[in-house]
């Protein structure tokens, strides 16, 4: 069963590659049918799951005493992830049907998406870290292909390259972490890691935290955490459904998923690092999101920020809540991206007078795109963290975990984590409010589009609507104010649900901050007309460029490497090869006094050796003709050196003879 579930997308990929071009939609409906089957299969699999995880493995590569295996492991969390991946992919595929209609490279689009779904399922189904790594990189590869889908434009081409390379930095850390895990625990199976005990016969004790940090590096790359988060905003150059599926709902959550799986082998220090990195990421990205003008970049920074929350949740030990947030976020962020896609699509259809992705050109769309607005609102408010919506339940849980963690750890510094978490909650509400007001509130700011904007078609709205329903509290928990009593936590909860006294004030504060953020945004952007050319002050600049991260990396890494490669290439040509050519020059130069020996040898050579060479050459007639065109003088001289060297060596050879 898991095998069918895992291989189905690859099968679809093959089918579409072969027959896709014969269909009007280039195999889109075929893919959708396949995914619908996948949803059914994975739901059925989920119902089959009991207490015991389904585990199967077989040998893949045996070398000496090392036996690498392949296999799967399906427990409740995996089962849920399969349903989530298939479900959201299905909705996004349906949305793409309308959004990507008429694209000249549509067959490729479906193929890449199928590759992605398959690789993503591979990550969650795999039962050992090495196999996770395999699919981890494949997911990165499909992401590369999809970001660069519109390859004829320069920006997507560059963005895809950057995404792959930045991810590879993380992947290398991950790979080294896998090796370290293997040496420390003698085990790569995820299901066994929990019970494995580190032994320090083969590696020093310092490697235990190092191993944790290296594994975390993989997550930092894939889940766009500090300091590798720069690729995600640029990844928005891909088609919007792709941003929605891969760069918001599923792939970027893979890091969090993995972190949750392996947090058992992480030491307290490593978890602190995880918490701090998550908090920093969440905070920085939220600030950047408040000043972006691109409709998708706001959401991209928001994704980074929310992923930061999840990572923080794992770091502080609120691991179920982090996963809960992963699920709720997948739905509401996917919905937001698709809604943004619908807006872009409709504005694009309205005319090419202005950039359809720039928030400054929009406004007042709640009238012309009222149904899109209705579908946009619940997920937006869920992101802002208002009660009665899913985002509140999970984010509240993470903040609560952070507060409990700070309390348990004591110390002022520890409180910085929940503090930053709260501030981020306020900032989140602010940028969500700003986003909503700029798109749907006020009046339309591009006169050329007036009257030409129509609402999105039902095939686009349907998926958003379904996702929006999942942004409400009800699908997750009966209690709209407490996520920990919901079915999700019950299902995957491994530890006892925490009954913290802090629950009520944490919830209250976060709600107040959210309301405050939205109110502030409303005040600022309610009447927003054409006054966006506000002077660029330092802070705005800093936030807009995400603290100049890209520029810093440009100077710290990219430029030096480009510089070093030129120097080395010069070194290779002039010095390494120069020495070789130099030696050749000295020994064959007629005016160099020390080369007389080689000249003597060359004379001898011209008669004997060349005679032989010519003899051979004559047998193949034209070869000889060409040989004469060669700089035969040099050839003789070179052969002369060779013979000279041989003579010397034969002298040395005498030293080797055993004394009689």
């Amino acid at each position: 069963m898991p095998l069918i579930i895992g291989l189905l997308p690859f099968l679809l990929l093959g089918v579409i590659a072969v027959v896709g071009k014969n269909f009007a939609d280039k195999g889109g409906k075929l893919a959708i049918g396949g995914l619908a089957l996948g949803v059914m299969l994975s739901s059925y699999q989920f119902t089959l799951l009991g207490e015991q995880a389904l585990i199967w493995e077989t040998s893949w590569l045996e070398v000496g005493e090392i036996n690498l295996t392949v296999g799967w492991q399906v427990d409740t969390l995996t089962g849920l992830m399969c349903v989530l991946i298939y479900g959201i992919s299905l909705l996004v595929f349906v949305f793409s049907l309308a959004y990507m209609k008429g694209d000249p490279y549509l067959v490729r689009y479906w193929m890449y998406l199928c590759l992605f779904v398959g690789a993503m399922l591979g990550i969650v189904l795999s039962n050992n870290l090495l196999q996770v790594f395999v699919f981890w990189e494949l997911v990165g590869f499909s992401s590369y292909l999809l970001i660069g889908f519109w390859f004829e434009k320069d920006a997507p081409a560059r963005a895809s390259q950057q995404a792959f390379l930045v991810n590879r930095v993380g992947d290398i850390g991950f790979l080294l972490g896998i090796f370290a895990t293997w040496l420390l625990f003698g085990e790569l199976n995820i299901s066994e890691l929990g019970s494995a005990k580190a032994s320090f016969d083969r590696m020093s004790e310092a490697w235990l935290p190092a191993c944790g940090v290296l594994l975390f590096l993989g997550c930092i790359g894939k889940s766009a955490q500090f300091p590798l988060q720069l690729w995600l905003p640029d990844a928005m150059e891909g088609p919007t459904p792709v941003s929605s599926l891969i760069h918001a709902a599923t792939m970027v959550a893979a890091g969090v998923y993995l972190l949750a799986r392996i947090s058992v082998i992480m030491t307290t220090e490593v978890l602190t690092v995880v918490a701090v990195v998550g908090t920093l990421t969440a905070f920085m990205a939220a600030i950047a999101a408040t000043v972006q003008w691109d409709i998708k970049r706001v959401l991209a920074y928001s994704t980074i920020s929310q992923l930061g929350y999840m990572v923080m949740g794992i770091g502080v030990g609120a691991y179920e809540m982090a996963l809960f947030h992963l699920f709720t976020h997948a739905f509401f962020k996917c919905a937001l991206f698709l809604a943004a896609g619908a807006v872009i699509h409709q504005l694009h259809a309205a005319g090419h007078e202005a950039d359809p992705q720039d928030l400054r050109n929009m406004g007042g769309l709640r009238q012309s795109m009222s149904r899109t607005f209705a579908c946009y609102l619940p997920p937006a408010l869920a992101l802002a963290g208002l009660p009665l919506l899913s985002g509140f339940l999970s984010k509240d849980g993470i903040l609560l975990g952070a507060v409990d963690w700070a309390e348990a750890n004591g110390g002022m510094l520890a409180w910085l984590v929940p503090m930053a978490g709260f501030i981020t909650a306020g900032l989140t509400a602010y940028y969500v409010g700003r986003h909503a007001w700029l798109i749907f509130g006020g009046k339309l700011r591009t006169p050329a589009w007036a009257g030409k904007i129509s609402d999105a078609p039902i095939i686009m709205l349907g998926p958003i609507f379904i996702l929006a329903v999942f942004s409400l509290w009800l699908p997750w928990s009966w209690n709209p104010l407490d996520g920990s009593s919901g079915w999700f936590i019950e299902l995957i909860g491994l530890s006892e649900p925490a009954h913290s006294d802090n629950h009520w004030w944490v919830g209250g504060v976060s709600v107040l901050l959210s309301l405050g953020g939205i109110a502030w945004a409303s005040l600022r952007f309610r009447q927003a007309a054409q006054k966006f050319d506000a002077p660029q002050n330092g802070f705005r600049q800093l936030a807009f460029t995400h603290f100049f991260q890209k520029e810093m990396y440009q100077y710290a890494f990219v430029k030096p490497v480009l510089w070093v490669k030129e120097i080395l290439a010069w070194f290779d040509r002039r010095i390494v090869d120069g020495v070789v050519n130099g030696i050749a020059f000295i020994t064959v130069n007629k005016h160099w006094p020390y080369s007389s020996l080689s000249l003597v040898a060359a004379r001898f050579d011209a008669v004997v050796i060349d005679g032989v060479v010519n003899g051979i050459a004559k047998s193949a007639a034209s070869m000889g003709r060409r040989l004469r065109h060669m700089q035969s003088g040099y050839l003789q001289a070179y052969l002369g050196i060779a013979i000279f060297v041989l003579l010397i060596i034969m002298l040395i050879f005498n030293l080797f003879l055993p004394n009689p």
Partner: protein, 531 residues
């Protein structure tokens, strides 16, 4: 069987020589027949009997052994000197024989349009083919050396006569470089024959019989004492040369000889020149098989005969490997010629072979051998890909191409596969071999102590840099709009998508690369058999 495999081209070469030079297309069909015949023989004959022999007999020896007396000389008081005609393979050699058979078929197909004197070309090619099989099958050092030298001659002419603008320079450089290595090898070989005796023959003749038989050279007791060595000779454990331990000196000399072939930094500069100037099929053989002789020799001869020296020098060999990996990748990044880029990427990828061997771990050495195999396939594909462009417009400058994806989508697809396979994406075979090498290198410090762990960690930089140069190249050549550049736009007519012959080359290679990436045990399980 092995003799038949090796010398199969000889009658075909004779037929070719008798045919008129203008016999249109007949030479290439003959050559194709020869290499396909060899491939069939390897798949159907050699592998089958290898398999049956390994099932029914002691797996720790060589298979398909052929041993005949060849040259025997009485050297008076010094004893006798025996050179045997001695062939045999173990798993490692079989893997490389298989690689040779595969790559040569691709090379002949890609030589299809050689216009200039096809008779001489294909005769030389078959001579090269013969010597390559011979190198991997020889068990007598003298025979090995003979085949090793024999590779040089056809290669020299194939580059020097059918190559590009600077072919003479490249050919001579290749020749001199390799000759230097050969001279070192010759030196060590003679020393070895003086130091080792054939125990059976010595008894039969009643006097000491010196031998070139490698199996006698690496025979050791369990305590690491050489069995057949002449006590006090140069390459006995106590022997000295110029005040140094003779075995250490010999190891270094042999290492230099094989490092030139691999090629390792800093003796690599012949490779980019040779590749850039060589015609496509010759580049394929050069990168696909010839470089592998270096890695093979390092394991079979350096490690086989001087294991304790290998342990002694493993740190340095690891360092050379590491430097090759990173230096090669950085210099590759700076290349403007696509073929030179692929050539330097070979330097980088062959560095992993050194790293794997230096790890002294079972998985590292298996990984190194598998890397020889995977790099053989992938670099063949890369050079064929370069050839596709060069055939059409006679230009390989990366900066002159843009937006090829919209112009040649199928071609671009295969380039994508080759590039990502080469940069080590999982699912393709290079990932597995590099993974094995890294595993060996990373664990080495904990077990055998071959190389320190930081080397493995630093070498992972190579996979990042590999991704950098391939992605940059791909973006610059295949992404963007085709009509963006005047140069490439003016080639609009010429840049047609793949033809049938090119499909015939690229499709099987792509399939093999994926097949061995998904099921590496098909090859890796062979490596450990025998010896």
């Amino acid at each position: 069987m092995l003799s038949f495999l090796i010398f199969l081209p000889i009658p075909i070469m004779l037929v070719m020589a008798l045919l008129p030079g203008k016999a249109n297309g007949l030479h290439r069909w003959l050559a194709l027949g020869a290499v396909v015949g060899q491939l069939m023989l390897v798949l159907g004959g050699v592998m089958l009997s290898f398999w049956t022999e390994s099932l029914f007999s002691d797996p720790n020896h060589f298979f398909l052994v052929e041993k005949y007396d060849w040259i025997q000389a009485d050297m008076g008081s010094f004893g006798r000197l025996h050179i045997d005609y001695h062939l045999g393979i173990d798993g490692m050699a079989l893997v490389l024989v298989l690689l040779t058979a595969l790559v040569n078929v691709f090379a002949v197909i890609s030589s299809w349009n050689i216009k200039q004197n096809p008779r001489a070309y294909f005769m030389l090619f078959l001579l090269l083919d013969l010597s390559l099989f011979g190198v991997f099958c020889a068990l007598d050092f003298f025979l090995f050396y003979l085949f090793f030298e024999l590779m040089l001659l056809p290669m020299f002419f194939l580059i020097g006569l059918w190559g590009g603008a600077r072919r003479e320079y490249a050919a001579i450089k290749f020749f001199i470089y390799t000759l230097l290595g050969s001279v070192f090898m010759l030196l060590v070989m003679i020393g070895l024959s003086l130091s080792f005796l054939d125990p059976v023959a010595s008894e039969a003749f009643g006097k000491s019989v010196h031998t070139f038989n490698m199996r006698h050279m690496w025979e050791m007791t369990e305590n690491g004492i050489l069995v057949n060595v002449v006590s006090g000779s140069v390459f006995s454990m106590e022997g000295t040369v110029l005040g140094q331990n003779g075995r250490m000196v010999a190891f270094v000399l042999l290492f230099i000889a094989f490092a030139i072939k691999i090629p390792a930094v800093p003796v690599h500069t012949w490779l980019p020149d040779a590749h850039v100037e060589a015609p496509t099929p010759i580049s394929v053989v050069l990168a696909g098989v010839l470089l592998k002789v270096g890695g093979y020799g390092l394991i079979r001869i350096c490690y086989g005969i001087f294991p304790e020296a290998m342990v002694h020098f493993s740190w340095w060999i690891g360092l050379v490997g590491l430097v090759s990996v990173i230096y090669g990748a950085l210099v590759a990044m700076a290349q403007t010629d696509l073929k030179a880029l692929v050539a330097y990427s070979s330097v980088s990828h062959m560095g992993y072979v050194l790293l794997g061997i230096a790890s002294l771990e079972v998985i590292g050495i298996h990984g190194a051998i598998f890397q020889l195999f995977t790099h053989g396939l992938i670099s063949s594909m890369l050079f064929l890909i370069v050839g596709v462009l060069y055939d059409r417009v006679h230009d390989r400058q990366i900066a002159n191409f843009r937006g090829l994806w919209s112009k040649m989508p199928r071609y671009s697809f295969f380039v994508l596969i080759a590039f990502f396979a080469s940069l080590g994406l999982p699912g393709f075979c290079a990932f597995v071999s590099e993974l094995m090498v890294f595993m060996g290198a990373f664990t080495s410090e904990s077990y055998s102590g071959g190389i320190p762990r930081w080397m493995a960690m630093a070498a992972t930089l190579g996979i990042l840099l590999g991704a950098v140069y391939y992605l940059r190249t791909y973006r610059r050549m295949f992404f963007g709009r085709f009509d963006e550049l005047e140069v490439s736009a003016s080639w609009s007519e010429k840049l047609t998508d793949l033809n049938t012959r090119e499909y015939l080359l690229l499709v099987p290679l792509a399939i093999l690369i994926v097949l061995f990436g998904l099921f590496p045990s098909l090859i890796v399980d062979l490596i450990g058999v025998g010896r």
